[in-house]
């Protein structure tokens, strides 16, 4: 039955239980190789430290705002690891750790949030689209780009990151539909972290799970425990393979939790209680993977220590980078509005230049 293959698993795909022991709830999915899991762990340690550092720098006024992804590291790291260099990643503003895992430099990732420019890296070179603040709009770009690459004979995939709140936006639905109709090699990765700023998932959707939204578009779908890095890597990796082989787009929903407030400017105590957060802290994806890998002897204590040390060094780099104020040229305001400045912009440019000289 064709329809049945489109449905997500009835229960979240899971390889590792909350206590770090093996959980056999993964159907036909294959466990990723050991070195891949170890690399995921290393990047999760790095990502968490980065997140803490960015939050601290925001409090010091170095960043205009920082939307933390603490608690979502398994999703963040997996989204980067399942992609090859030729693939495109379409992140939102909450996906800084995914960009770090993709190999972008901290200064590049934080340029937007520091307020220096709208995008701190070259999307054409990195194949990472600008961090998108309008909700769900980037999912359509991912579909169009994936379709374009396939038409040009490239076997590249576009992975679009999106949160639970943004699945209510029309563009998300139009993107799913276009992707399915054009069979564009796209993976939609919903990080359901249970909150859209203050609005809980229960008020966002009456669907039993967001993954069920795929079947209505004729799209293969899956749901996964978003705090189980092994499961996220397995499911997302499979989705990317499926798309790359030309078998159509895939919708993956990861069930996770936003440990911190929406941003530093938000007060989460106004809409959720401490017990709920404490419960999810127990479901920490990093601790879970560590316990699992240690028990399997994939990870040694000295390696863990080394990863943490490396993350500390990385945090220093982040701090040093952010403590250096780049020179911003006001004349650059007029660059790249059009391919060539219009006559009106040339006149305004001259006005600002005269102001600067005065």
């Amino acid at each position: 039955m064709a329809q049945e293959t489109l449905l997500p698993s009835a229960a979240q795909v899971r390889f590792v239980a909350e206590d770090g022991t093996r959980a056999d709830q993964h159907g036909d999915y294959v466990e990723p190789a050991e070195d891949r899991l170890k690399e995921a762990y290393r990047l999760m340690v790095l990502g968490r430290r980065f997140d803490v550092q960015a939050t601290a720098l925001t409090k010091q006024g170095r960043l205009a705002v920082y939307p933390s992804s603490a608690g979502q590291e398994a999703c963040q790291v997996a989204a980067a690891l399942v992609l090859e260099k030729k693939d495109w990643l379409f992140p939102t503003y909450r996906d800084s750790v995914a960009l770090i895992a993709r190999g972008l430099k901290p200064g590049e990732v934080l340029t937007l949030l520091r307020g220096d420019a709208h995008c701190g890296y070259n999307p054409a070179e990195t194949r990472v689209a600008p961090q998108c603040t309008p909700l769900a709009t980037q999912t359509l770009h991912a579909v169009g780009l994936a379709h374009a690459l396939r038409r040009r004979g490239e076997d590249a995939v576009a992975l679009a990151l999106i949160g639970d709140g943004a699945t209510s936006e029309g563009d998300f639905h139009e993107a799913l539909n276009f992707a399915a109709v054009f069979k564009a090699p796209t993976v939609f990765f919903v990080q359901n972290n249970r909150y859209a700023i203050s609005v809980p998932f229960e008020k966002q959707s009456a669907a039993p799970a967001l993954a069920y939204k795929g079947i209505g578009y004729g799209m293969r779908s899956e749901q996964v425990d978003g705090n189980d890095a092994v499961a996220v890597l397995a499911v997302l990796g499979d989705a990317v393979r499926h798309a790359r082989e030309g078998r159509g787009p895939v919708l993956v929903e990861a069930h996770t939790y936003r440990i911190d407030a929406h941003t530093n400017a938000d007060d989460a105590t106004r809409y959720r209680d401490a017990e709920e957060v404490a419960k999810w802290r127990e479901a920490d994806p990093l601790k879970r993977l560590e316990t699992y890998l240690k028990a399997r002897k994939t990870l040694q204590d000295h390696e863990i220590e080394q990863f943490h040390q490396d993350a500390e060094t990385f945090a220093h780099t982040v701090r040093d980078t952010l403590n250096t104020e780049p020179e911003l040229d006001p004349m650059s305001l007029f660059d790249h509005v059009y391919a060539e400045p219009t006559r009106q912009l040339a006149a305004q440019r001259a006005m600002v230049a005269a102001e600067l000289e005065a």
């Binding site: 995008c119 999307p123 169009g144 780009l145 038409r151 029309g170």
Partner: protein
């Protein structure tokens, strides 16, 4: 040869598809049907489904998908079926189409064209007759052009498709069936230039799109009143051709701006401001506007009261403080 504006647009699409493999045409009903106005007539049959294809019925989806296709190296030319039906795509157009080059500091660009049949005069029911140009001209990063003649329909669409910038291409649907001799080699001025359609020494009518023909008709009728009327066709609404417009107004000393869209906060206000700022000492009278009324576009049987016509424009010319006529109060 005599060609309608609709045929000229069709020819422009065909020639662009022939000249550049990266050009793609897509939207609602543009395939087998050839579009509700038949602008893409026969293109799928002649160029194949790969080059001209139907999409699902979702305007934001069409434009957002086109953004991705342009990022991937194609040059999409998408059709919005009607002016007011383009509004679902407004966020994609203003937040992404207009800004991607700037957001990425030139690393990405979006050479794409969004074709929108606009304005009234065809007896259309509600939501089929909006003049939505000001929404787009108020958005930096977009080029907004609109042809007033069949020749310009061909020339401007070819230019728009070749432009490295995204272009909102507004097609005056009431002129789709107007014909003239069209040469399919581009000989007109650059895309961002206005043209003087008719020379005159007493007053400049500034018009664009559907109102160019109305302005020309008015100019002929004005000779009976003893006025020698110049007509400027803007062609490019953004950027605005200050030089051509102000040179004309400096010669005539009087100007009337004409458009179908509502006057309040409309595009004409920008034109009046620019002309006044730059030609103040040459003006013999305030620059006046003839625009649509500040009402939602009316039902078909009443639309003749909404649209600027020859009489309303002549009445407005009469108010331009001529030595021999009193200033008429009102407006």
């Amino acid at each position: 040869m005599t060609t309608t504006m609709a045929q000229a647009l069709n020819a422009a699409l065909r020639d662009a598809l022939k000249d550049d493999d990266r050009v793609l045409v897509f939207g609602e009903d543009v395939g087998a049907l050839g579009g509700v106005f038949r602008i893409t007539d026969g293109i799928t049959a002649d160029f194949g489904e790969d080059r001209c294809f139907d999409t699902p019925l979702a305007e934001s989806g069409i434009v957002g998908f086109a953004v991705g296709m342009a990022m991937g190296g194609f040059r999409p030319v998408v059709e919005m079926q009607f002016d007011a039906f383009a509004y679902p795509a407004f966020e994609q157009i203003t937040s992404h189409v207009a800004k991607l080059r700037n957001r990425t500091r030139g690393a990405l660009s979006l050479p794409m064209v969004i074709r929108i049949p606009y304005a009234g005069g065809i007896g259309g029911v509600e939501h089929h007759c909006d003049s939505s140009e000001a929404y787009y001209t108020h958005t930096p990063g977009l080029r907004v052009v609109t042809p007033g003649t069949a020749q310009d329909a061909y020339d401007l669409l070819r230019d728009a498709i070749e432009s490295p910038d995204p272009v909102i291409f507004l097609e005056p649907k009431c002129r789709y069936w107007s014909s003239e001799n069209v040469t399919f080699t581009r000989s007109g001025p650059a895309m961002d230039r206005a043209v003087v359609r008719r020379q005159g020494k007493d007053v400049t009518l500034i018009a664009y799109g559907p109102m160019v023909a109305t302005a020309m008709e008015t100019a002929e009728a004005a000779t009976a009143e003893g006025w020698d009327v110049e007509v400027v066709d803007l062609r490019s609404l953004s950027p605005f051709d200050d030089e051509t417009v102000t040179a004309s107004v400096r010669r005539t000393g009087r100007a009337v701006v004409i458009h179908e869209a509502a006057g309040f906060g409309g595009y004409g206000a920008e034109v009046v401001a620019r002309v006044t700022e730059q030609c103040f000492h040459q003006l013999h009278a305030p620059v006046l506007r003839v625009t649509g009324l500040d009402i939602p576009y009316p039902a078909p049987k009443l639309e003749r009261h909404q649209l600027p016509d020859v009489d309303r424009i002549l009445d407005t010319i009469a108010r331009l403080q001529w030595a021999d006529t009193p200033v008429v109060a009102g407006a």
